[in-house]
C-alpha cells in the first residue's frame, strides 16, 4: 500500500486521532513508525491505522516539536532530562492501548517523548545506553559492559505545564509492599530471552512489566546501510519459524514500490511455501504448548512430523530453518522435480496426524481444565491491544491479512478464516489446530496446478526503489507482519520498519493476566505463540 499521509495541527492532534477512532472507525493501530526525516524536517512519527469492519487503512504523519525540558528556573528536579532539548508528540496510548509499547519503542530509538504517556522508559536498550541509535546523526558505538544494568524503578511522564514549559515527573512502578519476581531472561517457558517483571499478591498477578531487547540486534538500523538485496538475508532470522512470510513481506514491499509484475508461477510457489512454513510453525507451536504444560509425548509427535515438512522445503530451498528462498522479483531457484510429489505425500500424511495431536493432548480433559478461561481477553480489548493472528481470532476478531488484504493466490483459493469466541488459551490452541487443516486445504488446491513460467523476473543488478513510502503486510505465523519502507530513490532504504507479530501479544499479557494465578502466566505464554527474536529485531 502506498502511503498518503494525513496530517494534523499539533494542538489538535490528540483530538483528531480520537475522532479517527470514534467517528471513522479506525480502531486498530497497526504500528507507529518513528523516523528521522533529515536535518530540515526533524523527527516525527507515522501512524498506520485500520478500520476493522471495512479493512480500510490510513496513515497519519506527525512531526515532533522540540523544547528544553524543565523551565530552568524552578525545575522540579525529578526528571533525568531537565535542561536538555527534548522532542515531543502527544500520546495516543489512551486511545489505542497498544500504543503504550509502540511509543516506548519510538522513545527508545529516537528519543521522542510522548506527552501524557505514564511510563517513558527504554524498551529494548539498556537504561544506561547513551544516545538514540536510530537518529541519523548518532555516532556508531558498539562498546558494552558486563556490569549489571541498574534499572530505574520509575517511569517518567512528560507534560506541558500552564506556562507552556515541558516538564516531567516520576511515576513509581512498584509500591514498597510489592512482591516482584523476574521471569526470564533465561527461563525455559518464555520461549527465548523475554523478561517479565511480575508483581505478585500471594500467587495472584497484580501487574506485568515486559522487558525486551535481550536479543535486539538492530536489524532496522543495519538495513539503512545495506543495498536492497542485502537486506533480505536478515528477515529469516526474525521469527525463525516464519522465515518465508517475513521475507515475503520484505520482497513484497520492495516489489510493490518498484512495480514488479510477478508471473503466476512465482505466486503459486510463494503461496505454497508460505503455507508449508505455517504448518512448520504451528506444528512446533502445538508441540511446545504440550511441553510447557508437561506433556512430552505430544511434543515428540509434533516434532517428528515437523521434520517431514522441513524435508519438503529443504529439497527446494536447501535450508532447514533459514530458507533464504524469496528474492526481489521471484524466488531463488525453481522447485525441485520431486516437490509436487513430496508435498502431496505430506498432505496425505499430515491430515490424520493432526487428529492424533488432539487425541493425545488437545482433547485431553486435563488440557481443557488447564487452558479454559486461562488468560482471557475480550474482542474489544484484542483490537485495542492489537492482538492479531490466531490469538485475536480466538476472540472472534476476523483479522486474517490473507482475507482482508489478499496477496498472491489467497483470493483465488477456497479456504476459511478460523475464528472462535472462547477468548481464552484453549481457543488459541484450537485455532492453531484448525489453521493447519486450512493450510493443507490451500496447498491441496494449488499443488496440482502450478503453472509453467519463469520463477524469477530479471531485475537490474543495482536495485533502486523510487521515492515514496509503502507499507506491505502478510499474515505471519502469529499475526500480522508488515514492513514500512521509506525510500529516497537510493539503492538502500532510508528507513525500514517492521511490524513485529509478538510485540503487541506480549503487551497484552498484563491485561490478560491481572488477577490470574502466576502458573497461568506460563500457560498463557505458551498458548499465545510468541517468538522473541521477532519482537526484538
Amino acid at each position: 500500500m502506498k502511503l498518503e499521509f494525513l496530517s494534523f495541527e499539533f494542538d489538535k492532534f490528540a483530538k483528531e486521532m480520537q475522532n479517527l477512532k470514534e467517528k471513522k472507525g479506525f480502531d486498530y493501530l497497526v504500528t507507529i513508525v518513528g523516523e528521522d526525516f533529515g536535518k530540515s524536517e526533524g523527527l516525527g512519527c507515522i501512524y498506520i491505522l485500520e478500520n476493522t469492519t471495512t479493512h480500510e487503512r490510513c496513515s497519519v504523519k506527525m512531526m515532533a516539536k522540540t523544547q528544553v525540558c524543565g523551565d530552568n528556573m524552578s525545575s522540579n528536579g525529578t526528571g533525568d532530562t531537565d535542561g536538555q532539548a527534548v522532542s515531543y508528540i502527544p500520546t495516543v496510548s489512551n486511545i489505542w492501548r497498544v500504543a503504550d509499547l509502540l511509543e516506548r519503542e519510538v522513545y527508545d530509538f529516537y528519543g521522542i517523548v510522548f506527552l501524557g504517556h505514564p511510563d517513558m522508559r527504554r524498551l529494548f536498550l539498556r537504561s544506561d545506553f547513551k544516545g538514540y541509535p536510530f537518529r541519523k546523526d548518532w555516532k556508531f558505538n558498539d562498546k558494552y559492559s558486563l556490569e549489571d544494568d541498574e534499572e530505574p524503578d520509575y517511569g517518567l511522564e512528560y507534560f506541558i505545564d500552564k506556562d507552556g514549559c515541558l516538564q516531567s515527573k516520576q511515576n513509581k512502578l512498584f509500591t514498597t509492599d510489592d512482591y516482584v519476581i523476574n521471569i526470564g531472561p533465561q527461563h525455559p517457558a518464555t520461549h527465548g530471552v523475554l523478561r517479565l517483571q511480575t508483581v505478585l499478591e500471594g500467587e495472584v498477578v497484580k501487574r506485568i512489566y515486559p522487558h525486551f531487547g535481550y536479543i535486539h540486534r538492530g536489524i532496522e538500523k543495519m538495513w539503512e546501510d545495506m543495498t536492497y538485496p542485502q537486506t533480505l538475508a536478515l528477515t529469516d532470522r526474525l521469527n525463525y519459524l516464519g522465515a518465508m512470510q517475513h521475507r515475503h513481506a520484505l520482497v513484497g514491499v520492495i516489489e510493490e514500490a518498484m512495480g514488479v509484475e510477478l508471473t503466476d508461477r512465482i505466486r503459486y510457489i510463494r503461496t505454497i511455501m508460505d503455507e508449508l512454513q505455517r504448518l512448520d510453525s504451528h506444528l512446533l507451536y502445538t508441540s511446545c504448548v504440550a511441553q510447557d504444560l508437561g506433556a512430552l509425548t505430544a511434543f515428540l509427535y509434533g516434532m517428528r512430523d515437523r521434520e517431514h515438512v522441513l524435508n519438503c522445503m529443504e529439497e527446494t530451498t536447501g535450508g532447514r530453518l533459514i530458507q533464504n528462498y524469496y528474492r526481489i522479483g521471484g524466488v531463488q531457484a525453481d522447485i525441485d522435480p520431486n516437490f509436487v510429489k513430496n508435498v502431496k505425500g505430506l498432505v496425505k500424511y499430515l491430515r490424520p496426524m493432526i487428529q492424533e495431536y488432539m487425541d493425545v493432548f488437545g482433547d485431553n480433559v486435563i488440557t481443557h481444565n488447564r487452558l479454559e478461561d486461562c488468560g482471557p481477553m475480550s474482542l474489544a480489548d484484542c483490537v485495542s491491544y492489537a492482538v492479531t493472528g490466531p490469538a485475536g481470532r480466538a476472540s472472534g476478531w476476523k483479522n486474517d491479512v490473507r482475507k482482508n488484504h489478499p496477496y498472491d493466490m489467497y483470493d483465488k483459493v477456497e479456504w476459511e478464516q478460523c475464528t472462535l469466541d472462547t477468548c481464552d488459551s484453549m481457543g488459541r490452541y484450537l485455532v492453531h489446530i484448525n489453521e493447519m487443516y486450512q493450510s493443507l486445504n490451500i496447498i491441496e488446491q494449488l499443488i496440482d496446478n502450478i503453472p509453467e513460467g519463469d520463477f524469477y523476473v530479471k531485475q537490474k543488478p543495482i536495485i533502486k526503489v523510487p521515492e515514496g513510502q509503502w507499507y506491505y503486510s502478510v499474515e505471519g505465523v502469529a499475526g500480522e507482519f508488515g514492513i514500512y519502507l521509506d525510500s529516497r530513490g537510493d539503492k538502500s532504504p532510508y528507513r525500514m520498519k517492521m511490524r513485529p507479530m509478538g510485540l503487541s501479544l506480549v503487551g497484552a499479557f498484563d491485561p490478560m493476566l491481572r488477577g490470574q494465578k502466576i502458573a497461568d502466566l506460563i500457560a498463557t505464554c505458551a498458548a499465545i505463540d510468541v517468538v522473541i527474536p521477532d519482537i526484538d529485531r
Binding site: 533465561q186 531487547g213 535486539h216 536489524i219 512446533l284 521434520e307 530453518l321 522473541i532
Partner: protein
C-alpha cells in the same frame, strides 16, 4: 603409561577434524608421563563424564530450535548421553550458547557461566555466537562470545544442522576424555579465575603458551576486529559507487 587417544564408537580417529589441537592438549596436560593408577582412574572418570554431558538450555534464537530438533525423534541425541538439559546452571556441565548474544544479554551469559560448577564447558553454536555472524555490523551484538567466556568447541553454521551440532558435541566428548582429574590441575575456581572468568585449564594454558584465543587486531579503542575486505564486487557496482551512475544502466541494456 600413555594417554589413550579418545575413542568414539564407529568413527575412526583419523576421520575427525582438528586432531592436532587435541594432541596439543594431551601433550600439555600430560607432560612428563602419566601415573598408572591415577591415569586409569582418570580414564574411568572421564568415560563417565563424557557420556553424560548435561547442557544448560541457553537458546537465544534460531540455533535453539535446531538444538531442540536434535533432542527430538529423528536425531535423538540421547544416543550419546546428551539428552538431559537443565534449566539451572548449577546442575549443568556445559552451556550450549545457541544464538546471538547482545549487549543486554552479555552480563546474563557471564553470570550463568560463573554460576556453573566445575568442570564446565562452552560450545558456541552458529555464526552469531562465534563472531556476530550476519549481525557483525550491528551496534548491539557481541562479536563472538569468546570475548566474554572461554569456548571449547565452535559449531559453525547459520544455523548448524542437527548433524553438525551432534558432531560438535562429540568433539567435546573427545576433549573431555583426555582430561586429567587426579594429580593435576584440579577444576576448582579460584579468586583470580573468578575475576577473569576463565577456567583453570585455560589459565594453565595461558601461562605456558600465552593467550591462545583467536588473535584480535587492536585498533584505536581496542574494540574493532579485523577488517573484512571484499574482492569479488561486480563491476557495475564499483562504477556505481565511484559516481558514474549513467554508465551501468547502458551496460544493463546492452546485456538485455
Amino acid at each position: 603409561m600413555e594417554v589413550k587417544k579418545p575413542y568414539i564408537k564407529s568413527v575412526p580417529y583419523e576421520e575427525w577434524n582438528d586432531n592436532e589441537s587435541l594432541e596439543k592438549i594431551i601433550d600439555e596436560l600430560h607432560e612428563g608421563g602419566v601415573n598408572v593408577i591415577t591415569g586409569s582412574l582418570d580414564r574411568l572418570i572421564n568415560w563417565g563424564r563424557a557420556n553424560s554431558l548435561w547442557s544448560l538450555t541457553f537458546a537465544t534464537s534460531c540455533c535453539g530450535i535446531e538444538f531442540m530438533a536434535c533432542g527430538c525423534s529423528r536425531y535423538d541425541f540421547a544416543r550419546f548421553g546428551f539428552e538431559v538439559t537443565r534449566n539451572s546452571p548449577r546442575q549443568a556441565d556445559l552451556i550450549m550458547c545457541a544464538g546471538t548474544i547482545t549487549h543486554k544479554m552479555a552480563p546474563a551469559l557471564k553470570r550463568l557461566y560463573d554460576q556453573m560448577a566445575e568442570p564446565k564447558y562452552v560450545i558456541a553454536v552458529g555464526g552469531c555466537a562465534i563472531s556476530g555472524g550476519p549481525f557483525k555490523s550491528s551496534y548491539h551484538v557481541v562479536k563472538g562470545i569468546e570475548e566474554i567466556v572461554p569456548v571449547d568447541v565452535f559449531i559453525p553454521g547459520c544455523p548448524p544442522r542437527p548433524e553438525a551440532i551432534m558432531y560438535g558435541m562429540m568433539q567435546l566428548q573427545r576433549k573431555v576424555k583426555i582430561e586429567k582429574f587426579f594429580g593435576g590441575a584440579n577444576h576448582k575456581q579460584d579468586a583470580e579465575e573468578a575475576a577473569l572468568g576463565v577456567s583453570n585449564e585455560e589459565l594453565t594454558f595461558r601461562s605456558k603458551l600465552g593467550d591462545h584465543r583467536r588473535e584480535r587486531l587492536q585498533v584505536g579503542d581496542g574494540t574493532s576486529g579485523i577488517p573484512i575486505v571484499v574482492t569479488d564486487v561486480p563491476e557495475e557496482f564499483v562504477k556505481e559507487l565511484s559516481g558514474e551512475s549513467a554508465k551501468p544502466v547502458k551496460v544493463e541494456e546492452a546485456k538485455a
